[in-house]
């Protein structure tokens, strides 16, 4: 089972960078706690054993993001979210299917399509894409001002979001380890 953890967003656009920071926190926690000994940054080719979990930070959406998911069985996306319904800094965990497809099959942006539509295209093409995509979203405040800093409630949410990612990984891999030991 290959899993990819992706921190999404723009690291220089305020709270939009939170996805990257959470992904980096996941890697760091993993190093200090050896929680998932097989977790590594994506693209790291010098591993001595096969690595089921890769972690990456990207600024992608739509088709490009779908293409990045090719070859994985599971994916966890970490991103800023602006619903306006929840307090800033709230961590929300769901699956991609739980979110409304913003485009409903129509092109979402002037230059791309939504991730959901892109995934549907990929599946029709017969590409190997994750059977489940989990989302860890953090309610954001400021995503239109250039800044490398997060607003305080969003920064404060990093440990909780990081824990949510680790919990998801645990739920993916623990049953597997259990079976193997049995």
């Amino acid at each position: 089972m290959r899993t990819i953890v992706i921190g999404l967003g723009n690291p220089i656009l305020g709270d939009d960078g939170v996805g990257w920071k959470v992904a980096q926190a996941v890697l760091q926690r993993n190093e200090t706690e050896s929680r998932f000994s097989l977790l590594q940054p994506a693209g790291c080719k010098e591993m001595h054993h096969p690595c089921p979990v890769e972690v990456e930070c990207v600024s992608l959406g739509g088709l490009s993001l779908m293409e990045r998911l090719i070859g994985y069985d599971r994916a966890i996306l970490i991103d800023a979210m602006q619903t306006g319904q929840r307090p800033v800094g709230t961590v929300h965990v769901c699956t991609l299917e739980d979110l409304p497809n913003p485009s409903a099959g129509h092109s979402t942006s002037a230059h791309d399509t939504s991730l959901m539509t892109a995934l549907e295209i990929g599946r029709r093409m017969g590409l190997h894409l994750p059977s489940q995509i989990d989302v860890v979203a953090i309610e954001a405040e400021q995503v239109y001002n250039f800044s490398e800093d997060l607003s305080p409630p969003v920064a404060a949410a990093i440990p909780q979001a990081c824990q949510a990612v680790l919990n998801l990984l645990k739920s993916i891999y623990d049953p597997l380890e259990h079976k193997e030991s049995a």
Partner: protein
Amino acid sequence: MTQRITIDPITRLEGHGKIEIFLNEEGEVANTYFQIPELRGFERFCVGRPIEEMPLLTNRICGVCPEAHHMAAAKAADAVYHVDPPRTAKMLRELLYSAFYVTDHTTHFYALAGPDFVMGPDAPVAERNILGVIHKVGLEIGSKVIRARKYGHTVVEIIGGRKVHPCTSIPGGLTKGITEEQRLEILEMGKWAVEFAQFSLKLFSDIVLSNKAYVDLILGDIYTHRTYYIGTVDENNRVNFYDGKVSVVDPQGNRIGKYAPHEYTEWIAEHVEPWTYLKFPYLKKVGWKGFVDGKDSGVYCATPLSRLNAADGMATPRAQEEYERFYATLGGKPVHQRLATHWARLIELLYAAERWVELASDPEVAGPNFHTVPTEMPTEGVGIVEAPRGTLTHHYRTDERGIVTKANLIVGTTNNYAPISMSINKAARTLIKKGQQITEPILNMIEMAFRPYDPCFGCATHTLPGQMPLEVTIRNAQGEVVQVLKR
């Protein structure tokens, strides 16, 4: 009292855009406004950082064309350090850029323009999308699109160090070269890209050009504006995406001049309107006369169509044949019909693929001389490339240590802000008629007015859930909602 219709937002990943249509009491269009929330503070964000960081930083401005910002910033950094990169470095950059163009133009045509033409502008919205296109034309097309994108990304990764957001261009050249083996791999992918571009042009010919209704739509007045055009050309006045001078032609197609990057402030000025933060660039020598067509109006356009209009031809043989066919079919130069931009984009796709092969065929591209060490004191510099959606200008001033003290960027789409506004206005005025219900197909026909420009408004935010549905609210004279259209 006027009624107000809001189309908000029309786009997402490149930043929100909002169309507001004000109706008068008779139900006719009183005015239209195309608003874009500005991403604030980028120039200030650059100040205080080393100039060599700009190619890395500016490619984060935009989620769509990071490669274009990387190149424009790198060229500006060359100029700041007064260093001329060696031939191998220029070839590598242009090769990366050509592959990027193939990816970008492919995506636009198949994901955005395709649905309007393959499915038809008034097809049900549930079908008028890339999935509908694949369903109608065949799964094989979807696979080709994915393959074209994959090859483009692979070349960007080989030369640029990583996918999508390249990081190898520095003042004086690149941090690394490519091996002979990589050159051959890139060459093979390029050959496939040429075939794919030819296939795309044939598809356009079969589906669009052989359909009289589509040809009439393209040639009709709704989507026509007679403006100035700009685009970068090489020393033989042929289209070039990476280097050259910016050619400016008037609405009759006469070249009124060419400017080098450092001369841009003599040619381009910016007009401010109270209802939007974004400025409207115009030709300084002609002057701002409002949102109007014609030779006396400084409004200019910078798109694939503009580049073809501003040049004398294409630098590669197959693209040149298509260029000639384009003007022969559409009645000579310049072509003002904005929907023809989709065709122009495919001709550029072919040029980019052919250029990819040309550059990869030269063994010098894999040579060891990919960097000239800058030795002069950094001062000030301008870099210009053609972003897929328009001429992209980066201008930096630094102190003697190379720390940025001032930055100014004119991004691709900003060039087209005035023409896009004009196109939306004209389409809305033509299509929304007194007493007639405003339907989804009508709104799509209005969206079709800006789609040829492939607009991109600056940011790489991918904040979930991504986008609110397209929503149009029509209010009566008392401000009450009388009709809501959603998609």
